[in-house]
């Protein structure tokens, strides 16, 4: 007991001495401290500025379908994006680094609406890239317009995206009319087509592409003998192929669907003996929907399938070959980049180009993108019109599937 009392007294005494000493020191140094205060403040401000300059970032929100039937868009989109970000962030652009936030928008208007609101609130992006499917893109466009955040799209064909007066919507991908006008002309003039069937998923993209094709095709003297739409939940296309077979001879069948369904359609049309791949006469044609590798999945049914592609990995432009080389180095020598990889890569490069020109926030990214003229990317050249649509269609390839399932580039 007595030991405890003694030790307590010692502790109390120590505290009293410490307080007294601290008071004396403080009194002595207070004047010096006051003199130093402005310098400390200036130093702190400088430190903050340095920290800020080190953290100069452009935030890019990415809406890609990571799940569902359109998930191949998301997986390939992410590959292209990651490659571009990796390249850009090695040195940065104008002192800026790029950070991204991926959201699974599922090719669905509802999911896309939910995740765009989430990313706007939490991530506060300077620009949003996506979606791939037109319906989902149309769902997020008004939300981003209201938030005054630019939307850069590379996969939706619907006319409504850049035809609805949005000031913040941009698209590097050819719209439905840009894709189908040239195809309808070539179907008539090069393929000698007189009759067509329009087979399309019942979405804004499918409808707009079919409408645009029909308009030009009929204007040039062709006849659309049937329009057949279907939902994304349709699995078996045998009945549709039977219906097409019952229409009599058809020259071309314009097909607009996601890859999984298009494979099944090609196989069903071949089994019904409608298309070349099944011994028939009709040729399946299509706009930019299918990635590289479709022909191998569809097999011999794909024989003669003629379509537009915006990216050809065999194209000799240095930009394309550098991209292919970098892609293979990152993802494997046996992998071949698709137009989806390339489009995703290009969107990031377009944003980087805007930053290179001095853009630093949503508004300046928008104004710099509007000024762009013939900016070269892997999928062509970019010149945005006032409506945000890329006007330069210099790199459009027509390809035809050969018996060995390779592409033959058509000089159209």
């Amino acid at each position: 007991m007595s030991t405890n009392i003694k030790s307590n007294k010692v502790v109390i005494r120590l505290i009293v001495i410490t307080k007294r000493k601290f008071g004396e020191v403080m009194q002595k140094n207070l004047k010096s401290l006051c003199r130093l205060l402005p310098f400390i403040a200036v130093g702190l401000m400088g430190f903050t500025q340095v920290a800020q300059s080190q953290e100069k970032v452009i935030r890019i929100g990415l809406l890609y379908p990571i799940s569902g039937p359109g998930s191949y868009f998301g997986v390939m989109g992410r590959e292209g994006t990651d490659l571009a970000i990796e390249q850009l962030n090695k040195t940065g652009v104008n002192g800026y680094k790029f950070v991204v936030d991926y959201q699974d928008s599922q090719c669905s208007p509802l999911a896309a609406t939910n995740v765009v609101k989430k990313t706007l609130e939490n991530f506060k992006p300077h620009i949003v890239v996506g979606e791939e499917c037109s319906d989902a893109t149309l769902a997020v466009a008004p939300i981003l317009e209201e938030a005054k955040v630019p939307l850069l799209n590379a996969g939706s064909a619907t006319m409504k995206l850049t035809g609805s007066g949005y000031k913040y919507a941009f698209r590097i991908f050819p719209n439905a009319r840009q894709q189908t006008d040239s195809f309808a002309v070539n179907a008539i003039r090069k393929m000698n087509a007189k009759t067509a069937v329009l087979l399309y998923e019942k979405t804004n993209a499918g409808i707009d592409i079919s409408d645009s094709f029909e308009k030009t095709f009929t204007l040039l003297g062709g006849k659309v003998v049937s329009r057949i739409d279907f939902g994304r939940d349709v699995n078996d296309f045998t009945s549709i192929a039977t219906r097409i077979a019952s229409l009599g001879p058809v020259d071309v069948i314009l097909t607009s669907a996601l890859e999984g369904q298009t494979v099944k359609i090609a196989q069903a049309l071949a089994q019904a003996g409608v298309v070349k791949g099944g011994g028939g006469k009709a040729v399946q044609i299509g706009t930019i929907w299918l990635p590289w590798g479709f022909d191998q999945k569809a097999g011999k049914s794909a024989l003669g399938y003629t379509r537009i592609v915006q990216f050809d990995p065999n194209e000799t432009r240095p930009m394309v070959q550098n991209f292919v080389k970098a892609y293979k180095a990152k993802y494997g020598a046996d992998k071949v980049p698709t137009h989806i990889n390339a489009h995703a890569y290009d969107t990031i490069m377009i944003i980087a180009e805007a930053v290179r020109k001095g853009a630093k926030d949503s508004e300046s990214i928008r104004s710099e993108m509007l000024k762009m003229k013939d900016v070269e990317v892997t999928t062509g050249k970019i010149t945005f019109g006032e409506d945000g649509q890329n006007q330069n269609m210099s790199v459009i390839h027509f390809v035809e599937t050969q018996p060995d399932l390779s592409w033959k580039t058509l000089n159209w």
Partner: protein
Amino acid sequence: MVDIASLIIQQSINGIVMGCLYVMVALGLTLIYGVMNQINFAHADFVTLGAFASYFFVKWMGGGYLISILVAFLAGGVLGYIINLTIFAPLRDRGDELRPLIATIGASILLENGSLLFFGPVPYQYDTPYADAIRIGKIFFTEQSLLVVLVASAAIAALYAFMKFTFTGKALRAISQDRETAGLMGINQAFLIMLTIVIASAMAGMAGAMLGPILVLTPFAGASVVVKAFAIVIIGGFGNMEGTIIAGLLVGLIEAFTTQYLGSGVIDLVVFGLLLVMLLVRPTGLIAEKKEENV
């Protein structure tokens, strides 16, 4: 131009093939409802997993497609057994009918997301080795279509014979008619309910193997078929095997002829319109279940 008779025969073949696939999926649903008075919302995932079991057996292990149907059947059955043992049975023992129903939704989400984790979101390309078309005049069908009809017919016949002529089948029917009385007669309810789930899951797995080459194979593939299967079970009469078989074939034929004459875009409108009409006009289904009221 195909003549009208050939067209009708052709679309009938298309409809019957699709109908057989629907019946295989729907029979599992109706079996579970018939015996347990419970709707299994996880049924779609057994179909999906059956398709994946078949796919990996063929692609990774180099097995034959025909054997893969058996593999999918077994995989479905084993999965059904595990799910029953770990989730459904403990909840059923608590005597609450709502919890097992909600558990089927939970199991479905669990299986879908588990599949997403293991198999990834990108669709798998699963081609049958029996894709060649057989042509008889203007009519065509693939070897796979023939296989679907043969396997479905055999499976339906085997199930029918099991339910009609075996003691276990009779016991299952006894449980579906009156569970309490069947229990008093010494019938082991827990075992038979487990057996019902295993049979239904195995059939779903087998249907998955048959559907694999037709579906766009993703972790969510079964959902598009099961929605139709639910409609078929309601149209046929919940828990009624004969009604389900007739309704399944009917829906397949309706789809084929709707595609021909109205367009495939209105298939769901027609099928679910029929469903509503059935609910209003004949809520017991095409073939009403004969149940005697205890007095």
